[in-house]
C-alpha cells in the first residue's frame, strides 16, 4: 500500500517535470512532430485569398501552400516553369498554356486548365472585391468583368478559353511579351473546387497545391503548416513543417530568437542591427531584395511642375548623401541607388548600375548651384511627407533633410512632415493632397524591369501618385512591352528609364535588403528576391 503511494508520487513528479519542460519552449523546438521550425509572422491584413493578398505576410503563406504556372528561382529570380509544361505565343498577344500532368491539390482534386481559368475569372470579377484584380487587366474582356464604374456586364473574361483538361488559351488586350514571366505571382495560382463550394470554410483552413498544407490556423495568433508528403513538385519541403507565430513587435520576436523560443526571424528590427553580428554570428543574412525607396513629387502642384523644376529636383538629388545615410542609419542593410530598378533583376533582367550617373552622387556645391538655377525651392522649403507608424521612416527622412540642409547651408530648407497612419498617408497621396515630395516605396510583384517602371511612371498608372506624365516614356514602354525579343525589350525599358532620369521624375534613394536571423537548429536558410524565407529549403537539426 505504502509502496503504491510512493510510485504514484514519483509518476506525478515526472509528469509535472514533463509539463514544465513543455511550457518552457519544448513544444516548438524539439517536439514530437520532429523537424518543425517556428518563424515570426504578422497578422495578414486581408483574407488569405490569392487575388486578395497584396502584402508580404499573407504572400508568405500563399508561397508555401500554392504553386502556379511559373515559379521564381529563389536565387536568381528567373521565372521557371512549375505547373506549366510550356507557354507558347507567336505574337506576344495570344498565349497557349499547356499544363504538366500529375499535379493535384492536397485534397486530391486534379489541377486542370479549369482550375486556373476559374480562379482568374474569380480574381478579376468586380463582385468579389479582390484587391489584386488589376493583375488580370491585360487579359481581354477584363473591362467587362471589372468596369471602372457601374455594374459588370460579363461573368468571365472573353480572353480566357479552356481547350482541354491540360490546355487553355489567354488572349491579351495588347501585346505584352513579359506576360509569361508575371505568372509566378501569387494572384495567378489555381484554386480548388472547395474554395467556391465553401469559401468561409476554405478561408479558415486554406487548401492549395504547394509543398505545405495548413494543419491549423488560429487567426491573429498562429498558423501550423505541415509538409505535404505526396507533393508532386520538384521542390518538396526539406523539413517537416513550419509554425508561423504572430508577433506584434519585431523586437519581441528577436528577443524570443535570442532565448531559443523561435527559430527564424525575417525582419531584424533596426535597433538591433548594430548587435546582430555579435548576437548571431553567421546565423544572420543580409541580402538584396526587390525593394527600392524613392522620393516622388506632386506634379499636380504648379510649383513642382514649371520650367526650372527639373533642375530643382536634380539639385535635391545631389544634396542627399546616400552613402552616409545607408551606412550610419541602416548599417548597410540598404545600398545607395544608382538607377530606378533593383539589383535583384541582374544585368540581363534590366538592372543597370550607374544609370543615374552624376545625378545620384552627393555634391553640395553642384546641388546648391542647380537649385539656384532652377529658381530655388518652391516656397523656400521642401516638406518630405511620410507615414510615421511603421518602417522607421522618421529616421531616414530626418537624415535626408539634414543632408539637404547641410548641402544648401540653410537650416530651414527641408523638414519632415509625418502623417500618423499608413492609411491616412496613402489617402492623402492618392487624392493629390500633398504639396511637396513624399516617400514612395516599391516592392516588386515579379522580377521584371517593367514592374519597376510602368506602375510608377506610366501616365495615370496605379502607383503613379505624383501624376507624372511623359508621352515619350509611355511610347517607349508600349514599344518595350510589344517587343518579343527579351534582350531588346529590356534595352527599350532602359531607354524609358533614361527619360525618367532626365526629368528626375522621382529621386532614387536606396535599394532595400531583406534580413533574417535564425537559431542553431536551422541550416540552409535563404531569402528569395521578395525578402521571404525559402521555407521549403530550410533544414532542421
Amino acid at each position: 500500500m505504502r509502496g503504491a503511494t510512493a510510485t504514484r508520487w514519483a509518476a506525478c513528479v515526472t509528469a509535472v517535470a514533463l509539463a514544465a519542460t513543455g511550457c518552457g519552449g519544448g513544444s516548438d523546438s524539439a517536439g514530437a512532430s520532429g523537424a518543425v521550425l517556428s518563424s515570426s509572422w504578422t497578422d495578414p491584413q486581408n483574407p488569405l485569398e490569392p487575388a486578395n493578398t497584396n502584402e508580404v505576410q499573407g504572400g508568405k503563406v500563399l508561397s508555401m501552400i500554392f504553386r502556379g504556372l511559373k515559379q521564381y528561382d529563389p536565387r536568381t529570380g528567373e521565372a521557371k516553369n512549375m505547373l506549366a509544361e510550356r507557354i507558347e505565343t507567336s505574337d506576344s498577344r495570344r498565349y497557349t498554356v499547356t499544363l504538366k500532368d500529375g499535379w493535384t491539390f492536397s485534397d486530391g482534386e486534379k489541377v486542370t486548365a479549369k482550375s486556373f481559368v476559374d480562379a482568374w475569372n474569380y480574381g478579376a470579377s468586380l463582385r468579389n472585391n479582390q484587391k489584386n484584380a488589376y493583375f488580370f487587366s491585360y487579359i481581354e474582356g477584363y473591362d467587362k468583368v471589372h468596369p471602372a464604374r457601374g455594374e459588370q456586364s460579363a461573368e468571365t473574361m472573353s480572353g480566357l478559353r479552356t481547350v482541354d483538361d491540360r490546355t487553355f488559351t489567354v488572349t491579351l488586350s495588347q501585346k505584352f511579351s513579359g506576360f509569361p514571366d508575371t505568372l509566378g505571382y501569387n494572384a495567378f495560382v489555381p484554386l480548388p473546387r472547395a474554395f467556391y463550394d465553401d469559401r468561409a470554410g476554405w478561408l479558415a483552413k486554406p487548401v492549395g497545391n504547394g509543398p505545405y498544407t495548413v494543419e491549423s490556423y488560429t487567426k491573429g495568433s498562429e498558423m501550423r503548416l505541415t509538409k505535404w508528403g505526396d507533393y508532386p513538385g520538384p521542390d518538396a519541403a526539406r523539413n517537416d513543417g513550419v509554425t508561423l507565430k504572430v508577433y506584434t513587435d519585431n523586437n519581441t520576436a528577436y528577443t524570443d530568437l535570442m532565448a531559443g523560443n523561435l527559430d527564424l526571424v525575417d525582419d531584424v528590427p533596426a535597433q538591433q542591427l548594430k548587435n546582430v553580428r555579435g548576437d548571431l554570428g553567421d546565423r544572420y543574412l543580409n541580402t538584396p531584395a526587390g525593394i527600392i525607396q524613392t522620393l516622388a513629387f506632386p506634379y499636380y502642384d504648379k510649383n513642382w511642375n514649371k520650367a526650372g523644376s527639373v533642375k530643382v529636383r536634380q539639385g535635391l538629388s545631389r544634396a542627399i548623401d546616400r552613402r552616409q545615410i545607408t551606412e550610419t542609419i541602416f548599417q548597410k542593410t540598404r545600398t545607395p541607388a544608382t538607377d530606378w530598378t533593383s539589383p535583384v533583376l541582374g544585368a540581363e533582367g534590366g538592372y543597370k548600375a550607374g544609370l543615374c550617373g552624376a545625378w545620384c552622387e552627393y555634391d553640395a556645391a553642384a546641388a546648391k548651384k542647380l537649385i539656384k538655377e532652377g529658381g530655388g525651392l518652391p516656397g523656400g522649403q521642401v516638406k518630405i511627407t511620410y507615414n510615421a507608424d511603421t518602417g522607421s521612416h522618421k529616421l531616414w527622412v530626418d537624415a535626408v533633410c539634414n543632408s539637404i540642409n547641410n548641402a544648401l547651408g540653410n537650416d530651414r530648407a527641408c523638414v519632415g512632415n509625418p502623417i500618423g497612419t499608413f492609411a491616412d498617408f496613402r489617402s492623402k497621396s492618392t487624392t493629390q493632397k500633398l504639396s511637396g515630395p513624399f516617400r514612395a516605396g516599391w516592392q516588386m510583384d515579379y522580377p521584371l524591369t517593367q514592374n519597376f517602371l510602368q506602375p510608377l511612371y506610366y501616365t495615370n498608372a496605379s502607383s503613379n501618385d505624383g501624376k507624372w506624365s511623359s508621352p515619350e516614356f509611355d511610347r517607349l514602354v508600349d514599344r518595350a512591352n510589344a517587343e518579343t525579343d527579351p534582350a531588346r525589350s529590356v534595352r527599350m525599358f532602359q531607354q524609358a528609364e533614361e527619360v525618367v532620369r532626365d526629368q528626375m521624375a522621382a529621386i532614387p534613394l536606396w535599394y532595400q535588403n531583406g534580413s533574417a536571423g535564425w537559431s542553431q537548429r536551422l541550416s540552409n536558410v535563404t531569402l528569395n528576391p521578395f525578402s521571404v524565407p525559402v521555407y521549403d529549403q530550410i533544414k532542421v537539426g
Binding site: C23, G24, G25, D43, P44, Q45, N46, P47, N54, E55, L126, N129, Q130, K131, A133, Y134, H146, P147, A148, R149, L203, T218, K219, G220, S221, E222, K245, V246, Y247, T248, D249, T252, A253, T255, D256, M258, A259, G260, N261, D389, T390, G420, T421, F422, A423, D424, F425, R426, S427, K428, T430, T431, A440, G441, W442, Q443, P455, S462, S463, D465
Partner: protein
C-alpha cells in the same frame, strides 16, 4: 439599494452614447481607411467603391453611427478588414486580457495591501522608509523599461521564463506580464493603504478595540483595515478598467494577443469597427466597475446607506 442601482444604470446610457459617439468621430477623422488597404498602390476605383459600400463608408457619418449603434444592440459589432467578425476578435482577445487583469489585480491587492499595512503600522521605521523609496522608484520608471528589462533578464539571460507569451496565454505565463502591468498601481495601492492605516491607527474606535483587550490581529484586520480600505477600493475599481484598456504597452512587449493588441492594430489599420467595438466594451467595463465600487462602500462601512 435596488432603486439606487437602477438609477445608476439609467445614468450609464448617456455616458455610453456619448463615449461611443466620440470614439466613432475620432476614428473617422483619421481619414479614409480604404486607401491603406492596397499597399503602395492605389486601389482601383471600382473595387475601392465596392469596399466602401461594403463597410458602409460611402454614407454620411451620422448615418454610419446610427446604423452601427443599431447593429450593436442586436449584438453585431461589424466585420474587421481581414474578414473576421469583431465579436470573434473579442471572444479571443477579452479572455486573455481578463486573465492578465486578474493576475495584475491580485498582485496589486495581495502585495500592495500587505506592504501598506506593514509600513502603516511601522511608520518611520527602516521598513517603512525602504518600501517608500522602492515605490518611488517603481512609480518613476516607465512600464516599458521595467517590462523590457525583466524580459531580458528572466527570459534571455537567466532563461527562467519564456520571453513571450504563447497564444493560449495560461495564467502561469502571465505572471511576469501581470507583475509588470501591476507594478505602478501596486506602488499607489501601497502608499494609499499606508497613509490610510497610519491615520486611522489613532482613531477612537481602534483605541476602544485595543482597550477591550481584543487581540492585535483582530484589531488590525477587522477594525483598522476594513475602515482604511475605502480609498484603496476606489482606486482598484477604477484601475481594473484602466488595466484592461491600458495594457497596450505590456501586451506588445510580451506579445500577448489581447485587447491592447487588437486596439493597436485596429488604430493602425483605421478599422473603425474594431476600435469602436472594443472601446465600447471597455467603456461598459469601466462603468460597471465604478458601480461595483460604489456598492462596496456600503459593505465596508455600514454607515454608508443608499436610498
Amino acid at each position: 439599494m435596488g432603486r439606487y442601482v437602477l438609477r445608476r444604470l439609467v445614468q450609464m446610457v448617456p455616458v455610453f452614447a456619448g463615449a461611443t459617439l466620440l470614439i466613432f468621430l475620432m476614428v473617422n477623422v483619421m481619414g479614409d481607411p480604404v486607401a491603406g488597404l492596397c499597399g503602395d498602390r492605389q486601389c482601383d476605383p471600382a473595387t475601392a467603391a465596392r469596399l466602401r459600400a461594403e463597410f458602409g463608408l460611402d454614407r454620411p457619418v451620422w448615418q454610419q453611427y446610427l446604423t452601427y449603434m443599431g447593429n450593436v444592440f442586436t449584438g453585431d459589432f461589424g466585420t474587421a478588414f481581414n474578414g473576421q467578425k469583431v465579436t470573434e476578435l473579442m471572444a479571443t482577445a477579452f479572455p486573455v486580457t481578463l486573465r492578465l487583469t486578474i493576475v495584475a489585480v491580485l498582485i496589486e491587492v495581495v502585495v500592495g495591501v500587505t506592504l501598506g499595512v506593514v509600513t502603516g503600522l511601522r511608520r518611520g521605521r527602516p521598513v517603512d522608509t525602504g518600501v517608500l523609496l522602492l515605490t518611488l522608484v517603481v512609480i518613476s520608471v516607465p512600464t516599458f523599461v521595467t517590462g523590457l528589462l525583466l524580459q531580458l533578464l528572466l527570459g534571455v539571460e537567466w532563461g527562467w521564463i519564456r520571453p513571450s507569451v504563447s497564444s493560449a496565454a495560461p495564467f502561469g505565463e502571465l505572471l511576469l506580464p501581470g507583475l509588470v502591468l501591476a507594478s505602478v498601481s501596486l506602488a499607489y495601492v501601497t502608499r494609499l493603504t499606508r497613509t490610510s492605516i497610519a491615520e486611522n491607527r489613532r482613531s477612537d474606535y481602534v483605541r476602544t478595540a485595543v482597550a477591550k483587550g481584543l487581540p492585535r490581529r483582530r484589531v488590525v484586520t477587522r477594525h483598522l483595515l476594513r475602515n482604511s480600505l475605502i480609498p484603496v477600493v476606489t482606486f482598484i475599481g477604477a484601475d481594473i478598467g484602466f488595466l484592461m484598456g491600458g495594457a497596450i504597452v505590456t501586451e506588445r512587449i510580451f506579445n500577448i494577443h489581447g485587447v491592447g493588441f487588437q486596439l493597436y492594430q485596429g488604430i493602425l489599420r483605421q478599422n473603425t469597427q474594431t476600435v469602436v467595438g472594443f472601446v465600447t466594451v471597455l467603456v461598459l467595463v469601466f462603468l460597471l466597475c465604478n458601480l461595483v465600487v460604489d456598492l462596496l462602500y456600503a459593505v465596508l462601512d455600514p454607515r454608508i446607506r443608499y436610498a
